[in-house]
Amino acid sequence: MAINWQKVREALPKTITELLAEIQQAYDSGGDDPARSVDKALRGKISGLKTRFETIKKEGTK
C-alpha cells in the first residue's frame, strides 16, 4: 500500500511541511527500498547537525 502523503501532511502541523517534503522526496526516489532512501537522507541531515556540533566543540578548545 502506498503512503497517502496528503493525509499524513494534513495530520501534521504546517511547520513540519518542509521535513515531510524531504522525506517524501527521498521516499519517492527510493525505488525498491524507499525506507533505506529515507534513512540515508535523514542520516545526512543528522550528520550535518553533528558536524556543526563538532565544529563548535573544536572552536571551544582553542
Binding site: 500500500m1 503512503i3 499524513v8 524507499p34 542520516r43 543528522i46 563548535i56
Partner: protein, 735 residues
C-alpha cells in the same frame, strides 16, 4: 498482473528426497494425502526455498546443523529444486535453484526461464518477486504456509503477529518505515542529549565568566598592591600614562636623555636601569672604591704570606742554631773528614796485611828451626849460628812485637770507622736541613719578586749558602721579614680604613641619589606594570567574550534544531503509524465478515461464533490483538489462545490467513497449506474442507495432509486428490 499457478515441482537430493521427486499440481483445489514420514514437509520446505531462496526460522530447525542436502545422496550428487508455473496468459516460468553449498539459505545458483528469456542471479530473484508479488522475508506472503507459522501468527508473540498481519494487509512498507524514522529519531535525541550535556558541562560563556572573574580578581589584587606601594587610585585608572610620567621624572632626576615617544615601557625601564648602572660605575667615589678594593685584595694575601714566611724562617733559624751547636754544618768539611778517615782506614788495613804476612813467614821459620836446633853455622855463608838465640828472637818478634802492633791497629781501625760513620750521618742530616732551607729561601725569593717595587720591599741581598752557615745573616733576614710583615699589616689597616670611609661616602651617595631613583624604577616595574598587564589581559579576554557568546548561541541554536528535528520526526512517525493503524483497521473491518463467517462455518463453536482483530498504536507501532467474539453475548471478547481449542485455533488461523491474504494487496494465484486441519476432529475437518472449497480464493489451493479423513472430506467437497505413501531410505515414491 496475472496470477501465477504452480504446475510442477521437481526436487532432487534435497531434504527428505533421495534422487528425483516430481510433483504435479492441479489448477484449482488439490489435496495431496501424505501420511507421516512421506515427505510433505520436505516438499513444502523445498517449495519455499525454491520460491524465496530462504529456509524459514523455525524452532524445530537448528540453523547451525541444518543441511538442505539429502543425507543419503552423497556430497557430489546433483541437488536442485525446479518449480514450474503458468499464468492466466498461458505464459510459463521455470525457477531452478541448484544447491551448491554445505549451508542453506541462498547458497545456490538461480536461473529463471520466463517464456523465451533466461535470467540468473540477482536479476532472476528480482523477477520472481516481481512476477509472483511474493516477499522473500515474509513466509505467508510467498503462498506457502507451514504448520508452525499458520498457528504461530495467531498465538505467537505480539510483534510476530503484527509483522504477519501487516504483511497480509499489504502494510509492510508503512510498518517498516516507521521504525526507520524511529531509529533516526533516537539518534537525534542522543545528539540533543549530548549537546545539552556539553552546554551544561562546558558552557562557553560560563567558562568565559569564570576566567573573567579570575582576571578581575587578579587585577584588583595588583591594584591594591600598587596603592600600597604609594600610587593614587586615580593614577591607576590609566596605569600606562602614569608609568610614562613616573619614568620621565626618574630620567630627569638621573639626568638621562628623555625617552623616545611611544617606546614600550619595559624598554624604557631597562634603559633607565642601564643608565643608573653606568652612573654608578663612572662615579669618582666608585672608581676610588674599586681601586681600594683592588689594593686590599692585593695586600691581604701579602700580609698572610709575609707573616707565614717570617714565622717559618724564624723557627728554622732557631733549629739551625741548635744544630750548629750540636755539630759541623759545613758539608765541605764533613766531606773532607770522611775522605781522611777513609785514607787512614786504608793505611791501617795495609799495615795489618804486612804484619800478617810477616807473622806467617816467621812462624814457618820458627817451626823449621826447631828441627835444626843442632845447627852451628849458616849453611850458606858458614857464619856461626846459635839456634836457641834465633828461636828466642823469632818467638819474641811474633808473639810480642807483631801481636802488640796488630792489636793497636785493630783498635785504631774501630775508632776510624766510627768517626767515618759519624761524619757520614752528620752529612746526611745537614743535607736535609739545606734542602729545607733551600725551599724556604725559594719562597722568600719568590715573595721578594712579587713585592718588588713596593715601599716595604727589602734592598739587602742574601746568599743562600752564606745564610745557611752564618747565623748573623739568618738573624738579619728574620728581622727583614718581621719588618715587611709589620709594614704590610699597617698598609692593610690603612687601606681597610680608607675603604670603610669610601663605602660610607658611597652609601651616602646611594641613599641620596641612586637608590631613590632605583626604587622608583622598581616600583613602576613591579607595581605599575602588573596592573597594566592585568588590565590588558582583561581587555584581551573581553574580546573572547563575543566569540564565547556567539558559540553559546550557536550551540543553543543547534540544540533547538536537534529538538525541532526530533519533534518533527516524532510527529511524522506518529502520523505514519496513525495512517497505518487507520488503513489496517479499515482493511480488517472490510474483511472481518468473511473471516468470521469462515471461522463460524468451520468451528461452529457454541460460545464463540466470530473473530475480531483489535488494532492499537503502541509507541508508534501498530499492534494487533486477535479475539474470539460471541454474537449472543456482546461483550464476550477473549484472546483466541485463551479460549479456543486446538481445532478451533486451526479454524481461526485458516479463517484469518485466507481472509486477510485474499485482499487487494495480495495477488497470489496459489496457496500451499501444510496440514491445515491439524487438531480438528472429523466434523471440523469436513467443515474446513467445505469452507476452503466454497471460499474460492485463491484459485489454486494445494493442501498437504496426513489426515485421511480430511483428504476424503476435501475429495468429497470437490478437490482433486492424490497420495504419497511410500518412503524408503529417504526415497519417496508416488502411489
Amino acid at each position: 498482473m496475472s496470477a501465477w499457478q504452480l504446475q510442477k515441482v521437481q526436487v532432487k537430493n534435497l531434504l527428505g528426497f533421495q534422487g528425483l521427486k516430481e510433483q504435479h499440481f492441479q489448477p484449482r483445489i488439490q489435496v495431496i494425502e501424505a501420511p507421516n514420514h512421506t515427505g510433505k514437509t520436505s516438499l513444502t520446505m523445498a517449495l519455499l526455498w525454491g520460491l524465496t531462496g530462504i529456509i524459514p526460522e523455525l524452532p524445530r530447525i537448528n540453523r547451525h546443523s541444518f543441511r538442505l542436502s539429502n543425507k543419503h545422496a552423497g556430497t557430489d550428487a546433483e541437488q536442485f529444486c525446479v518449480i514450474e508455473l503458468v499464468n492466466d496468459s498461458n505464459s510459463r516460468m521455470a525457477i531452478k535453484r541448484l544447491y551448491r553449498g554445505a549451508r542453506a539459505d541462498l547458497d545456490a545458483e538461480l536461473t529463471v526461464e520466463l517464456d523465451d528469456k533466461i535470467l540468473s542471479g540477482q536479476d532472476a530473484q528480482m523477477r520472481i518477486l516481481e512476477e509472483l508479488n511474493v516477499k522473500p522475508d515474509s513466509l505467508e506472503g510467498c503462498g506457502v504456509v507451514l504448520q508452525d507459522h499458520r498457528l504461530g501468527f495467531i498465538t505467537g508473540k505480539e510483534s510476530d503477529i503484527s509483522d504477519v498481519i501487516s504483511d497480509m494487509l499489504g502494510l509492510t512498507v508503512l510498518s517498516r518505515f516507521v521504525p526507520t524514522l524511529e531509529e533516526r529519531l533516537k539518534e537525534v535525541k542522543e545528539l540533543q542529549k549530548e549537546i545539552t550535556n556539553y552546554l551544561e558541562a562546558a558552557d562557553p560563556l560560563k567558562k568565559w565568566e569564570e576566567r573573567d572573574q579570575q582576571l578581575r580578581d587578579d587585577f584588583l589584587q595588583r591594584e591594591n598592591e600598587a596603592i600600597e606601594a604609594g600610587f593614587a587610585r586615580e593614577d591607576l585608572e590609566n596605569p600606562a600614562t602614569t608609568a610614562v610620567r613616573e619614568l620621565a621624572q626618574i630620567a630627569a632626576s638621573l639626568k638621562a636623555p628623555p625617552a623616545q615617544p611611544g617606546r614600550p615601557i619595559p624598554d624604557e625601564i631597562k634603559r633607565l636601569r642601564d643608565h643608573l648602572a653606568t652612573l654608578r660605575k663612572s662615579s669618582p667615589l666608585g672608581v676610588e672604591l674599586a681601586e681600594l678594593q683592588g689594593r686590599k685584595g692585593q695586600l691581604s694575601p701579602w700580609v698572610e704570606k709575609a707573616v707565614s714566611l717570617r714565622d717559618a724562617y724564624r723557627d728554622f733559624n732557631e733549629r739551625l742554631a741548635a744544630e750548629d751547636g750540636a755539630g759541623e754544618l759545613d758539608t765541605k768539611r764533613l766531606t773532607d773528614t770522611i775522605a781522611e778517615k777513609e785514607t787512614a782506614l786504608q793505611k791501617n788495613q795495609e799495615r795489618r796485611d804486612e804484619l800478617a804476612s810477616e807473622k806467617g813467614l816467621l812462624t814457618n821459620a820458627y817451626s823449621h828451626m826447631q828441627s835444626h836446633q843442632n845447627l852451628r853455622a849458616c849453611p850458606v855463608c858458614d857464619s856461626p849460628i846459635k839456634a836457641s838465640d834465633l828461636l828466642k828472637k823469632l818467638k819474641n818478634r811474633v808473639e810480642d812485637q807483631i801481636a802488640s802492633e796488630l792489636s793497636r791497629l785493630k783498635e785504631q781501625q774501630k775508632t776510624l770507622s766510627e768517626e767515618k760513620d759519624g761524619a757520614e750521618s752528620r752529612l746526611k742530616a745537614v743535607n736535609r736541613l739545606k734542602d729545607k732551607h733551600g725551599q724556604l729561601f725559594a719562597e722568600i725569593s719568590s715573595f721578594h719578586t712579587q713585592v718588588q717595587g713596593e715601599p716595604f720591599c727589602w734592598k739587602k741581598k742574601f746568599e743562600i749558602d752564606s745564610l745557611f752557615l752564618d747565623a748573623d745573616s739568618r738573624t738579619k733576614l728574620v728581622a727583614v721579614l718581621e719588618s715587611v710583615a709589620e709594614q704590610l699589616n699597617e698598609g692593610l689597616r690603612v687601606v681597610t680604613d680608607e675603604l670603610k670611609q669610601k663605602k660610607a661616602q658611597i652609601e651616602q651617595q646611594e641613599a641620596e641619589q641612586y637608590q631613590p631613583a632605583e626604587a622608583q624604577i622598581t616600583c613602576v616595574s613591579e607595581k605599575l606594570l602588573p596592573v597594566m598587564d592585568a588590565a590588558q589581559k582583561i581587555e584581551n579576554h573581553g574580546k573572547k567574550r563575543d566569540r564565547a557568546a556567539q558559540r553559546k548561541t550557536e550551540l543553543e541554536q543547534l540544540q533547538e534544531d536537534a529538538r525541532t528535528l526530533a519533534g518533527q520526526l516524532q510527529k511524522i512517525a506518529s502520523a505514519l503509524a496513525q495512517q497505518e493503524e487507520e488503513t489496517a483497521s479499515a482493511a480488517i473491518r472490510a474483511r472481518l465478515p468473511d473471516i468470521s463467517e469462515f471461522f463460524r462455518s468451520v468451528a461452529r463453536n457454541p460460545d464463540y461464533d466470530g473473530l475480531d482483530i483489535q488494532t492499537n498504536i503502541s509507541r508508534d507501532r501498530v499492534t494487533y490483538k486477535i479475539q474470539a467474539t460471541s454474537s449472543a453475548i456482546g461483550n464476550l471478547n477473549d484472546t483466541v489462545g485463551h479460549v479456543l481449542s486446538e481445532g478451533d485455533l486451526s479454524a481461526a488461523s485458516m479463517a484469518l490467513l485466507l481472509g486477510l491474504a485474499s485482499g487487494e494487496s495480495h495477488h497470489l494465484g496459489f496457496l500451499v497449506l501444510d496440514d491445515p486441519a491439524q487438531g480438528m476432529d472429523e466434523t471440523l475437518q469436513a467443515n474446513l474442507a467445505a469452507a476452503i472449497v466454497k471460499f474460492g480464493k485463491p484459485k489454486q489451493v494445494v493442501i498437504f495432509t496426513h489426515q485421511q479423513s480430511f483428504a476424503e472430506a476435501l475429495k468429497q467437497a470437490g478437490a482433486h486428490h492424490s497420495r504419497i505413501h511410500s518412503w524408503k531410505m529417504g526415497k519417496v515414491q508416488d502411489a
